[in-house]
């Protein structure tokens, strides 16, 4: 937030926050993402990932990038687009 000349404040535009998304066709339930990012990803009864909705918190973003790179089928994605 910065002050403008009239003494009010201007809301700075925020960068679109990254969100996790999985391509369910590419996903083969290897489970690496669930191991690497348990804060945001859990397993369903068949081993497929359940993603916690909402943007990825700042302190987890580098871990999320690592999880994305580690997916054996590149099914996990980090996107700032709306699904």
């Amino acid at each position: 937030m910065t002050a403008n000349r009239d003494g009010g404040t201007i809301q700075q535009p925020r960068f679109p926050e990254p969100r996790l998304r999985v391509n369910p066709i590419a996903c083969e339930a290897h489970g690496v993402c669930i191991e690497l990012l348990p804060e945001l990803i859990s397993a369903d009864p068949w081993g497929y990932p359940i993603l916690r909705p909402g943007p990825v918190p700042l302190h987890l973003q580098s871990l999320a990038r690592r999880a994305v790179a580690a997916c054996p089928t590149l099914a996990l994605m980090l996107t700032s687009l709306q699904p």
Partner: protein, 243 residues
């Protein structure tokens, strides 16, 4: 370098340390490459234990591959610097142009090229499509046996017992894991799996036969195309098998 050549602050008076380094780094690189390949196979069969999660397999696979590349780089460097035999740097990348054991050094060049392709594409994995990455990664099944053959054919240590045992252990480990991977990859196609197993068994048999007729038989260095270099004066004696 002979005579008064300098490498850093050490005066190298003979090429033997470089020769030892070449052999040692080559062996270590082979072991590391085998370990990385083994972990890659374990990953493809989704090996997992409570104390050994998937990411450990994947992380070690990656790091050991990088380490193997590092040792291979030193292996290439010491070979090039070794003046006993003239092997310029391009022989390490362009196969079969070497004047020293052209086929076997050429195999090493192929293995190195493939290793570079495997590692570079893996580092750029998220930027290239999965399908292209996967096609390149399948060449690992070519890279590793080529590296083994290179070691057996070029290596002057092949007749040494512990070297043979070490190589055999590497080969058997990869063969067993590959059979496991084949069995799991095609559960509904027993014909294909059996064909794969037979192929591996045949390769092992043929390889052993070649080993006995080739590197383990007398005068291999001559038959593989070792040329004596006039610059060194006396030829390096054949390595004798010590009991």
């Amino acid at each position: 370098m002979t005579g008064g050549g300098h490498v850093g602050t050490i005066v190298v008076t003979s090429s033997t340390p470089l020769w030892y380094a070449t052999r040692a780094t080559g062996l270590v690189a082979l072991v590391l490459l085998t370990a990385s390949m083994a972990l890659g196979l374990l990953s493809s069969v989704r090996f997992q234990r409570p104390a050994w999660p998937r990411f450990v397999t994947l992380g070690l696979h990656r790091n050991l591959a990088l380490l193997a590349l590092g040792f291979t780089a030193v292996h290439v460097l010491t070979t090039v610097l070794d003046s006993f035999v003239d092997i310029p740097l391009q022989d390490a990348f362009i196969p079969f142009i070497s004047s020293y054991r052209p086929i076997w050094v050429g195999l090493g060049a192929i293995a190195l090229d493939l290793m570079l392709a495997l590692i570079i594409t893996s580092l750029l994995r998220t930027r290239m499509g999965l399908r292209s990455w996967r096609v390149v990664h399948w060449t690992a099944y070519l890279c590793w046996p080529v590296a083994v053959l290179h070691g057996l054919g070029t290596g002057t240590d092949t007749p040494v017992r512990w070297v043979l045992v070490l190589t055999a252990c590497c080969v058997l480990a990869i063969a067993a894991l590959t059979i496991w991977r084949l069995a799991l990859a095609w559960p509904g196609r027993p014909v294909a799996s059996t064909a794969g197993v037979i192929l591996i068994a045949v390769t092992l048999i043929v390889g052993t036969a070649w080993l006995r007729a080739g590197p383990l038989a007398p005068h291999w260095s001559t038959r593989s195309g070792t040329t004596s270099t006039p610059a060194a004066g006396a030829a390096r004696p054949d390595y004798r098998v010590s009991p």
